[in-house]
């Protein structure tokens, strides 16, 4: 009799325990490490938008977290180790300088998956992903070439790495194509995010007669200055519409959300594998922001046509003939640049003045 009751009690307890543990099935943990503040309204902001999209898409099944303002190097390695120890299953490391720390930590935690943005070192549990920003540069280069009155276009560049050089070349080629008199003035600020330095660079460029500014840095300061001085600029990484409602012509938006959602889905399905992804306009990883009304109708149509052609693969922004800055031939007539050369690009194309600092 008592045995029976005990058995029943056990059965009830067991079923309660089972339901309890099922209801509280551990959500998958996805971590992000950012080089800037989430409020930069540029690079880091867009990665965080991607994180929020993951939260939105998976609800209770996924728990996300992030650490911002992490310097590249020893601190990144420590933060990544702590995130792995805290039980994150998938960690996105969103800056080039996190490459070696990511590889080091990934070796210590083979069960944790890592995704490193803009680098080139892979492992079984480390994917790499980046976006073909140069496709967007081609479109805004075209617009800039059409819109400049002084034929002087300013370019605020961060570091002389292949990604930045590729962007300058792509923008210049397409500005020059529609405006043979165009000249690029390039200022290297040696930072990704420093509103004061970026603002100074914008001022200097404007004093030199520039009337369109492009930037490859993360803050909204150049856009704000452009608005004040009544010249044109383009949003970088995010749309930046609010910071220059009249100055902003268009923008290159990094849209990481679809990729982050897809990778998290793969994690949940157990199909995650190390991949090497370099996507552009076609998958939506690079988006061209809405065209301003200040751009003439026909130019808007041309820019849209170019974006569409890049998207469907009928046009590649680096299609020959293109010469190097020293006049030597790089691409023959109709020849298309291969990804290897683009990934390691360390030269200017013909027509750009000045030299790449080193």
């Amino acid at each position: 009799m008592t045995r029976n009751i005990l058995q029943k009690v056990f059965a009830i307890l067991a079923s309660i325990f089972l339901t309890f543990s099922l209801a509280h099935a551990e959500p998958a943990k996805v971590g992000f490490i950012y080089v800037g503040p989430v409020g930069d309204f540029g690079w880091t902001y867009e990665h965080d938008q991607g994180r929020l999209a993951v939260e939105e898409a998976f609800g209770d099944k996924v728990e996300t977290s992030y650490v911002e303002n992490v310097p590249e190097g020893a601190d990144a390695e420590r933060v990544l180790t702590q995130m792995a120890l805290a039980g994150n299953d998938l960690i996105f490391t969103t800056s080039f300088g996190y490459m070696d720390p990511t590889i080091n930590v990934a070796a210590k935690f083979p069960d944790v998956k890592f995704e490193h943005a803009t680098g080139y070192k892979r492992a079984d549990n480390v994917s790499i992903y980046s976006a073909r920003f140069y496709e967007g540069r081609a479109v805004i280069g075209h617009i800039a070439g059409k819109m400049t009155k002084t034929n002087q276009i300013g370019y605020i560049a961060s570091f002389p790495i292949p990604e930045v050089i590729r962007g300058i070349n792509s923008a210049y080629i397409h500005a020059k194509k529609v405006n043979p008199d165009v000249e690029f003035k390039i200022v290297w600020v040696f930072t990704w995010f420093d509103p004061a330095k970026e603002a100074d660079a914008a001022q200097t460029l404007i004093e030199q007669g520039v009337d369109v500014i492009m930037q490859h840095t993360d803050s909204t300061a150049p856009m704000t200055i452009a608005e004040e001085k009544g010249i044109f600029a383009f949003g970088q990484a995010s749309d930046m519409m609010e910071f220059g409602p009249t100055a902003r012509l268009s923008s290159i938006i990094d849209n990481w959300a679809p990729y982050y959602v897809a990778r998290t889905q793969a994690l949940l399905d157990g199909t995650w594998e190390s991949v090497d992804v370099w996507d552009g306009i076609s998958t939506g990883m690079v988006e061209i922001g809405e065209f301003s009304d200040r751009i003439p109708e026909d130019v808007r149509a041309e820019a849209q046509a170019m974006a569409d052609a890049i998207s469907d693969g009928s046009y590649h922004p680096f299609t020959g003939p293109i010469n190097r800055q020293d006049g030597s031939a790089w691409l023959g007539d109709g020849e298309i640049a291969d990804d290897g050369t683009l990934l390691g690009m360390n030269f200017y194309v013909e027509g750009l003045s000045g030299s790449i600092p080193n």
Partner: protein
């Protein structure tokens, strides 16, 4: 009404008790800030100050990391405190840290891929030399032209940052790096690697040297003639002359000591935790160490405690970010509060507060 009377001598009791009080007040003010941000203040404070040391999952890794992060702060702050005692103000330790790393790293990379036992010691010595050489610029300019060492050493930080960017992109760039900036990773170069001494802790030679430097400074200040001369110079350069101190040599000694230790910290960090020279190699240890030196009241053991506390807030701050979604700015604000309360409480050791009644009449 309250009346503040200046004490003849700073109160020993209050000097000893104020750091503890400052930490307590910071916990309260920080807790209020976290509450305003919509976080549970107790949980936030616990995550920052408690979890790195006691959390069962994280502490095994975090505890030694506190020492690793504190090591460069201790090394640099120990060096700076010597000069600060003598009223010689080296504000440019960040630059000397960078130059130590560049020279030491450059020497090591020059021998790559040769494996030999002497590369590591040579690299360390080069790091010290790099730091000293950079500190000699403000020292010699001060002696020769009476320039202000605060300005010169500070400005040289920005020069060294450009130098760092230049070598990361040019001279010392990894030839196998497909055009990306940054040197080879010294962690993968056995002869130049300052690897961990105890498996899984991350503790490297720099942590041991930092520990030694604490006692070395104590011995110097307490027992060596130089320590006496430093203190006298700090009180008055004129009096120090009577005591047989050559003020010019004192300038050289103080800047060499702080520059050399900063350079040493730089090369240990480069060859150990950081691994590679890159544009963002320096993360502000040279500036934080100034705060650490004052937080530790220029006392070697105080400096050690201050560096550990700063280090704890960094590591606990990381945890609070990803465990509680606190913004990093809130962590920086907490660190700022700590310094603010500590410095403002110095008032208590300098002044006596009494209550006086207005006499009628």
């Amino acid at each position: 009404m309250l009346v503040f009377e200046r004490r003849r001598e700073p109160s020993r009791f209050w000097t000893a008790i104020t750091p503890v009080l400052a930490v307590l007040v910071t916990l309260i003010a920080g807790g209020i800030m976290f509450a305003i941000l919509g976080k549970n203040p107790v949980e936030a404070i616990k995550t920052i100050f408690w979890a790195p040391i006691f959390d069962p999952n994280l502490s095994a890794y975090a505890r030694p990391q506190i020492l690793v992060k504190a090591a460069p702060l201790v090394l640099i702050a120990i060096g700076l405190s010597i000069g600060f005692k003598a009223n010689i103000w080296n504000i440019g330790a960040e630059g000397q840290y960078i130059m130590g790393a560049i020279l030491g790293g450059g020497v090591a990379l020059a021998f790559y891929p040769l494996e030999a036992w002497w590369i590591f010691p040579l690299m360390i010595v080069s790091g010290i030399v790099g730091g000293i050489a950079w500190a000699m610029i403000p020292a010699l300019l001060k002696i020769k032209f009476r320039t202000n060492e605060i300005l010169v050493s500070l400005m040289l930080v920005y020069v060294s940052e450009h130098f760092l960017a230049s070598v990361s992109l040019g001279l010392l760039r990894n030839p196998d790096g497909i055009g990306f900036p940054g040197s080879r990773n010294l962690q993968h170069y056995t002869s130049a690697s300052n690897g961990e001494l105890f498996v899984g802790t991350g503790i490297h030679l720099g942590v041991i040297v930092a520990l030694v430097s604490i006692f070395a400074l104590y011995g110097l200040i307490r027992f060596h003639r130089l320590g006496f001369q430093v203190r006298v110079t700090g009180q008055s350069v004129r009096i120090s002359r009577f005591a047989g101190v050559n003020p010019n040599l004192m300038v050289i000694f103080c800047l060499a000591a702080s520059g050399g230790l900063a350079g040493l910290a730089g090369i240990f960090e480069l060859s150990g935790p950081a691994g590679q020279l890159s544009i963002d190699f320096n993360v502000g240890y040279g500036f934080t160490a100034i705060i650490v030196a004052f937080l530790g009241r220029l006392n070697p053991f105080g400096i050690a405690l201050a560096a550990l506390l700063m280090s704890l807030t960094y590591i606990g701050g990381d945890l609070a970010q990803f465990m509680l979604n606190l913004p990093s700015a809130a962590i920086q604000a907490l660190q700022g509060m700590l310094l603010f309360f500590l410095l403002s409480m110095d008032f208590l050791s300098q002044y006596r507060i009494t209550i006086k009644h207005w006499a009628r009449g």
